[in-house]
């Protein structure tokens, strides 16, 4: 079993596997999203404090979860790349970063759209939004560093170091932002004080989170295939692919 | 004592050399030949442990240098393309720093003798920024004239930018090193006549 998995560590072997996996994950993502949105809009009860506007939580919270989860996954691939010295690990973390950044961006936007009808302002400096903002900077820094180094091997290794430094610091940053937020009272304006969870709300968020996860896998694999083609463009099998197409 | 096993390296997507097997013993001189861009510097840097080889390994007294780490580097003297001298420090200060960096203490007298061996004793107090290219090279090469533990010398184009007189001095320093049982690997695209008990040659860029 172990030997079998390592066979796919070569980009050439992983490329067709990824291609076969994408439609499945896309379908799962669509199905889960439909189920989640149904629960979000039709099943979950109206919140007596915030009205209908609170429903944005079904996008905001899963996006936040995904943004943090993907950063950790990215760091894991980075660690694997350093430990095992495989090219695919670096490509995988390059593929993950934009999706992670997009989810961070969605978290911030949905937070703003939630804030306006609820609190009257598009932006509040609450702990979660501020932490997400810093996380967005970490993603952008990673993408920028990889983009600035022309040699792909060096870019992968540098990016891996940065991702690992980031993943160690993210809990510390979150803690410090939390600390900062509780110090400067204004905590009445806080999105983290979500309405108390009815079971259906939790179900809705879980479904949306799973949908986001499936989507992330599909999107990452699609991006990964492009990265593989680009990086391995001089290899025989890529040239064969292109002439066959 | 120095050995490469199936050493391979690529740069910028280009395979420079592969399946390279070389062995060098005490008193051995290995000359790496090849045109510009053929991978001479890369090979030297692989031997120094600076560049990670694409495949294969380098062994010192049978142990992989990747595992030896700092222990290997205390036996090593590496001079790369740029004469590693700081413009703001004097020639003497630069040489003194190189010694301290390699963990040896030397006296002022030894320092003077080393500079004299390269013919730049009177430049000792001059900041390196005011030297010509050739004088800078001599200042860097003065390390070869110092007593030190380094048994393996890796020199990248050591005779570049030197006049005939300086070339002669460097050649005799190298010969003395080899006669004392040291090993020497150098890259050069010119012919280099250094008296050596064993002479090996590797040509890259085939």
């Amino acid at each position: 079993m172990r030997l079998d998995l390592f066979r796919f560590a070569a980009p050439q072997a992983f490329f067709p596997l990824a291609g076969r996996m994408i439609p499945w994950f896309s379908a799962l993502a669509a199905a889960l999203a439909l189920a989640g949105l149904y629960v979000a809009f039709f099943v979950a009860p109206t919140d007596h404090q915030q009205g209908e506007a609170y429903r944005i939580i079904f996008i905001h919270v899963p996006a936040a979860w995904m943004s943090m989860f993907l950063y950790v996954v990215m760091a894991c691939w980075a660690a694997a790349g350093i430990a095992l010295n495989t090219r695919l690990s670096g490509m995988m973390s390059s593929a993950l970063a934009p999706t992670g950044a997009i989810f961070t961006f969605i978290t911030l936007w949905s937070g703003a759209l939630w804030g306006k009808p609820t609190w009257g302002t598009y932006w509040v400096w609450d702990a979660r939004l501020t932490s997400e903002l810093v996380l967005l900077f970490l993603y952008l820094g990673f993408i920028a560093l990889k983009g600035a180094i022309p040699d792909p091997v060096r870019a992968d290794r540098a990016g891996a170091i940065l991702a690992l430094v980031g993943v160690v610091n993210v809990p510390i940053i979150y803690f410090s932002v939390q600390w900062w937020n509780t110090l400067h009272q204004g905590a009445s304006v806080s999105l983290t004080r979500a309405p108390s969870m009815a079971a259906t709300m939790l179900l809705g968020m879980l479904l949306m989170a799973l949908a986001a996860w499936m989507y992330s896998i599909a999107a990452t694999l699609a991006r990964l295939r492009n990265i593989i083609l680009e990086r391995e463009r001089d290899a025989q099998w890529v040239l064969l692919q292109r002439t066959a197409a | 004592m120095l050995q490469t096993r199936e050493l391979a390296c690529e740069r910028g997507g280009r395979r420079l050399f592969s399946a390279l097997n070389v062995a060098l013993d005490a008193g051995g001189l290995l000359r790496v030949r090849g045109a510009n861009g053929s991978g001479k510097t890369t090979l030297l840097r692989c031997l120094a442990g600076l560049t990670r080889p694409g495949a294969g390994s380098v062994h010192w007294h049978g142990d992989d240098i990747a595992a030896l780490g700092d222990a290997y580097r205390s036996d090593l003297l590496f001079l790369g393309h740029s004469p590693a001298v700081k413009d703001e420090l004097t020639v003497a200060e630069n040489l003194d720093f190189s010694c301290r960096l390699s963990g040896t203490e030397i006296s002022a007298a030894q320092l003077d003798r080393a500079l004299d061996a390269l013919g730049i004793a009177k430049l000792a107090g001059r900041p390196a920024g005011y030297l010509s290219q050739g004088q800078r090279r001599r200042a860097a090469l003065a390390r070869l004239a110092l007593p030190g533990p380094a048994k393996l010398w890796l020199l990248d184009e050591p005779l570049a930018a030197l006049d005939d007189e300086a070339i002669g001095r460097v050649r005799s320093l190298c010969a003395a090193h080899l006669a004392a049982g040291g090993l020497l690997v150098l890259t050069s695209h010119q012919e280099v006549e250094i008296a050596a008990p064993n002479l090996e040659s590797v040509a890259l860029g085939g």
Binding site: V134, F137, A158, I161, N169 | G103
Partner: protein, 221 residues
Amino acid sequence: MSGFSAILLRDLRVALRRKGDALNVLVFFVVVSSLFPLGVGPEPNQLRAMAAGVVWIAALLAAVLSLPRLFAADYADGTLEQMLVGPQPLVVVVLAKSAAHWLLTGLPLALAAPVIGLQYDLPAGAQGVLLASLLIGTPVLSLLGAAGAALTLGVRGGGALLGLLVLPLFVPVLVFGAGAVGASLTGIDPSAHLSLLGAFLAVSSLVGPWAACAALRVALD
């Protein structure tokens, strides 16, 4: 440890002979701090409340300004390569250079901060806390900053890219450092903030040098 002191002294000697660089950073720090009142108005209470944040942000910017030079000069003239092939453990090299950077940047900033504090009318107690927070926090800037400098070594867009990489990592320093002064201004004991800052310094002294060593090996590969 002779390697550590050799590198530290060499860096100090080189910097003192260049004079301009370290002084520029200090002047930049003072100029930036002095610009804020021009931007937000001279109202004393407002300035007093802002003072810690302003000083700390100016310190972060000054650090980012000085960090690209940490390895760049040695990289360009080949002396960095010599440090990597020397028998000294690379972490000793990184620690020595970070220490030199702090002595030339962080320490002068910390000592100049009371002057800025006067401009912002900080009371004596808060001044002391500001100084303490800078003395504990600026080494973090040198340690984590060294990792950033090593990652962007020889990369185009170096300075701005380096800022993008390290400033998010400096958020805890800013929060705890400025927060300590804020606490003392409202009569709360700042020792919790300063302890957290100290803890972060401890973490940075492990993470920063490790990352810098790994990044230097990548850069000189």
